[in-house]
Symmetry: C2
Subunit: 377 residues, 2 copies
């Protein structure tokens, strides 16, 4: 039985309205998952995460496996009880982090040997270990271990990683033991459409609960990202959710929803918040800029988040300049709310068969936006 | 008309139950003010400050004067609107900060010349400037500028600072222009009881709305602190509030309430929270310690703050180890709640004429506490 119900297909694009039913709740799609790498969306309490409109968060099995360790989380009654978030959680396997963060990662057909990015200690994780770790964490959705080659890898390297990911997927599917946890396969293949199709077929054969597009947003030109996604989704079953890993800007989200993607995660709204860059309906606001020093307006007059309802740009700038911890909380609350409202707008546009017009309106990416390089056309 | 109503005097000590009526609300005393130096209690939203039970917060005119500047706060409609806290605020004048933080502070009878601790820029603040700055900030209670000599200063230095503070107080009283703002005089005199008495008389003559004990908790032995406070309060009018500046540990608070003090502030609960040291009814918990790695219990089973209701010691430790910003929020929420509950317990004990028994019970400072040096007997 599919965890996904396709509610409506937009008449003007390939965008889809759907609903995920998971162990810890229901998620309306398209949906954006704020990133809680270590089991906390930086600076937000679970109540504040909920207030942004987020229905599902993403955590990272690699990070939690290293610290505090799956045994600690399991003893606490699982990841939900540990971090006080009772809604759905997707755990990334951490394949991407092992390749990007860990030192001396050595990949074999069995899995990965690497050194911890925290203390340099040596570790080996087999494909089965990664399944088991996420089962112990108890996330609603687990991701298989995949090999994610860099964005500039040659075709032979990408092909080899794609084939290895397929072999790993088979072992991961066989290792599953929790009926209450969905598992997503990951389609690799770089920007090579034939490899993407081949990878999609291999994953579908294994009957996962959903399918992710991996190995994109890793440095390739942005139009390639969208083109590859749009060319890959037709090879995926319509009655299963599609998750694009690690994207992106508001423009990315709109383009990828138009390509038929249902689920997203990205550190952009939370990371930019910590740098004091805020998303608004009139373009990005770099709150540190001197022009905001006495500005009594909220960050975004069109936003009703806690930060915009109670505080001026002048105060938020002051908090950033004085390095007050509250700056992280309020800025993150605002940026994540901005992303969640964008998803809500897209769900509404799909439901009313007006997605193409919404995308063309560019209300989600005002002209000023490109100046800061946050939104890209 | 006094801003203070004396509701009840404990039959077993000199502790007092009272009520402050200020421009932005009512404060039940004895009361503890969490410190919001830059207009933010570190990591807490105004809603979360309210949830701790705090009815009044303390901010610092020196810090706000330097950054963002009183003009910015005034343009925003005053400090309350600027920082989104609609309850009472006391602003410290910043005399103590000028002497302790600023470089090359030069004191004359006119005021203070100093270099900013932020950028080294040169500034002069007269006694009248300090009154005016706090009137522009619009705090409920303003403090006069005082000269606070170091804890090890000799008698002549202390006497000179006490006399200068008296001269400054006269000018401050004359400079007041806001009827809706209370102003507190500050009693100096180090540990010299005769200077304290003399300073108290000088302040009372000027008819302030309340009287502070300054120049204590600056390095002198703890028993001296309590002794001086207990010897000074009898010289202060019973129908006016008494504020002990910059104390202290739970033990300090109990001892000073027993001496007839009504109002407190201290960075201890907020600063220790950021270091991961938490106050509990069973003694201090250093959450970083390995013994908490898998501990499913809340920090304090007797506490009903948001952190204790939703999170385990294991999770709080994990947040601290992973340097997650949420650690600051949850730890601060807990420690400030602990202080506010202690004040509530003291108010209850006074109302029932059982303060002496409460103090003797030491329920507020369990034996284990002394090991960490947070509570001192």
């Amino acid at each position: 039985m599919s965890i996904f119900r396709l509610l409506h297909e937009d008449a003007t694009s390939r965008a889809r309205r759907g609903r995920l039913t998971l162990a810890h709740g229901v998620v309306e799609t398209p949906a954006f998952m704020p990133v809680a790498t270590h089991g906390s969306v930086k600076g937000l309490t679970p109540q504040q995460i909920h207030d942004t409109g987020a229905e599902i968060i993403l955590s990272n099995a690699y990070h939690l496996w290293l610290r505090p360790g799956c045994d600690v989380v399991e003893t606490a009654g699982g990841l939900h009880r540990f971090c006080g978030w009772d809604g759905p959680i997707l755990t990334d396997s951490g394949g991407y982090q092992i390749f990007s963060l860990a030192a001396l990662a050595l990949v074999t057909d069995d899995g990965v040997t690497f050194r911890s990015h925290i203390d340099g200690s040596a570790h080996t994780l087999t494909v089965e270990d990664v399944v088991r770790a996420q089962e112990r964490l108890g996330s609603d959705i687990a991701m298989i271990l995949d090999e994610c080659p860099p964005g500039d890898a040659d075709r032979a390297t990408v092909a080899a990683a794609t084939e290895r990911t397929a072999r790993w997927a088979e072992r991961a599917a066989a290792a599953r033991s929790r009926a209450d946890q969905a598992v997503f396969g990951i389609v690799q293949g770089g920007t090579h459409l034939d490899l993407r199709e081949q990878s999609a077929r291999a994953m579908i054969r294994l009957g996962f609960d959903g399918y992710a597009l991996g190995g994109l947003s890793v440095g390739e030109p942005r139009p390639d990202t969208w083109r590859v996604a749009a060319s890959t989704t037709p090879h995926l079953p319509a009655d299963h959710p599609r998750y694009f890993m690690g994207a992106g800007t508001p423009t990315d989200l709109v383009r990828l929803v138009a390509a038929g993607v249902d689920l997203f995660d990205c550190v952009l709204p939370t990371r930019l918040a910590r740098n004091g860059t805020l998303f608004t309906s009139a373009g990005p606001v770099v709150i540190r800029h001197a022009c905001h020093v006495a500005d009594p307006r909220p960050v975004d007059e069109a936003c009703d988040c806690y930060a915009c309802r109670h505080f001026s740009r002048a105060y938020l700038r002051h908090l950033v300049m004085a390095r007050e911890p509250l700056a992280v909380t309020l800025n993150t609350l605002h940026n994540v709310t901005y992303y969640e409202r964008l998803m809500l707008r897209m769900r509404e546009a799909i439901a009313t068969d007006t997605f193409e017009a919404f995308a063309a309106s560019r209300e989600w990416a005002p002209p000023a936006a490109s100046e800061e390089g946050i939104w890209t056309a």
